[in-house]
Amino acid sequence: MADSNPVIDIESLSKTFGTRRGTSHLAIADISLKVGDGEFVSILGPSGCGKSTLLYIVGGFEAPSTGAVLVDGKPVAGPGPDRGPVFQEFALFPWKTVLGNVMYGLLEQGVDRGQATDRARELLAMVHLSAYGNFYPKELSGGMKQRVAIARTLAYRPKILLMDEPFGALDAHTRTRLQNDLLDIWERDRKTVMFVTHSVEEAVFLSDRVAVMTRSPGRIKEIIPIDLPRPRKRAELLVNRRYQDYVVEIERLMELPPEEAQAS
């Protein structure tokens, strides 16, 4: 699936950052990855291995040092509404209400106010926040903020979702609920998703494939296809032998090898 006409085609991507000491620091090295249409791919790896960097380059927020990213065959030159980001920090617009936030991208794209309002309300219903349209971000809990952020991104119908530890700042219970919600939403319109996480269970539960990265400088160590039936139910998966095997296999991959993180 991923090989025929990939939606995202990452070709030997490297990124070098300059440091304050005048040296340069290789964050990711020679990453190649193809993501197929409607595929859900998770990126796992130790902290600092370059997962966010990879996602930001696909988003067009950062430029690669070498290599290229093609989306639908065209090289990425900057951010665009075909790739919707969701960040761990929510990044809501605090001066806008919840409804205003969700409508923002639509108005930006020239959708008229009435239509944008309807669509925004629809999305708020989808993330179970219909009653909170007039609230300001400050007045919401972390989990609610992330729901708003997801609705805000989904509103303008990006073809690709780029999610950087979207549930990383949430408590375990909220996290589980949002994982279920995300899967429900994804089952409905099968967007292409790149999903960065630290949680092996989360990656296995959500993904079609899990890419495990090495320590800094990040390379792709292994890509594991997750062959579990959909739609997935968390309670069923937890007692599923294959699910458990995947988790154990990937945990093992993440542990090895215990080499030192390299700083330059």
Binding site: P79, R83, W95, K138, E139, Y156
Partner: protein, 260 residues
């Protein structure tokens, strides 16, 4: 039950009355020639306000202050925001600002008067300079602190860089900008008076320093009272404005109290 201290405006009112009583007693007891009792000063306030010439003086002060203040905002907010988002712009303006910052703006007054005369322009320019610096500084800090991910989210929606400055950086930095404006407002009042002290021609400062020369101390203190009340009223009005445009940035409980 509502406590008496919770009635809005009550504690500051008590503080004012307390201060006036204290002043009155001290002045009467010590009988210093330069310090009239509070009551004598208070009696002069309506005298000043009823005198059309003095009223005109006060109004021309306010007019200069308003012009200088708003001109400063129009200049300082964009400069501060651009400095906050572009290293090149910051590097360009920083040495300039660092040089001007420690100079008391009123001290520039004599030089400015040499160029521009003793009229309105000089005074407005001094007010403008006084207000600009804190507003630039706070706009700069506000713009710098804008979360990168917020800008990226907007960029992903298809918003270009100039639009982001206007529609993301400006509103996101607004609470901080308002802090600068508040400081600017106080400085506008101060530079207004000091500029008139140096270029005496009209204005509140003119009344103040002329009556000082004539040893009319009741009038001097009455003018000080008027300036003080002006500052207080401006501050209250400004707080209302701040709440209207940047109320979203307040902590949750304050919003709840405000709407109760």
């Amino acid at each position: 039950m509502k406590r008496i201290a919770d009635i809005p405006g009550f504690p500051p009112l008590m503080a004012c009355i307390g201060l006036l009583v204290f002043w009155d007693l001290v002045a009467r007891y010590l009988a210093i020639s330069g310090l009239p009792p509070a009551w004598d000063a208070l009696k002069e306030v309506p005298v000043i306000l009823a005198d059309p010439e003095q009223l005109l003086n006060i109004l021309s002060s306010i007019r200069r202050m308003v012009i200088g203040f708003f001109a400063a905002l129009v200049f300082a907010i964009p400069v501060g925001l651009l400095m906050g988002r572009s290293r090149a712009v910051a590097a360009f303006f920083n040495p300039l600002l660092m040089t001007i910052y420690p100079v008391p703006k009123a001290a520039l007054m004599p030089i400015i008067m040499l160029w521009l005369g003793v009229g309105d322009v000089s005074k407005i320019l001094v007010i403008f300079l006084g207000v600009s610096l804190p507003v630039i500084y706070h706009s700069y800090q506000g713009a710098r602190a804008v979360e990168q991910k917020m800008l990226w989210s907007a960029a992903a929606m298809g918003m270009g860089a100039p639009a982001r400055l206007l529609r993301i950086v400006l509103p996101a930095a607004l609470p901080e900008i308002m802090v600068g404006c508040r400081t600017g407002l106080v400085l506008a009042l101060i530079t207004m008076v000091t500029s008139e002290m140096i270029a005496r021609q009209s204005g509140v400062g003119n009344i103040l320093f002329n009556s000082l020369d004539l040893a009319q101390y009741g009038l001097v203190y009455a003018t000080i009272l008027i300036i003080g009340v002006m500052g207080f009223v401006l501050d209250v009005l400004f707080e209302k404005l701040r709440e209207a445009v940047a109320g979203w940035a307040q902590p949750v409980h304050q919003i709840a109290v405000g709407s109760a």
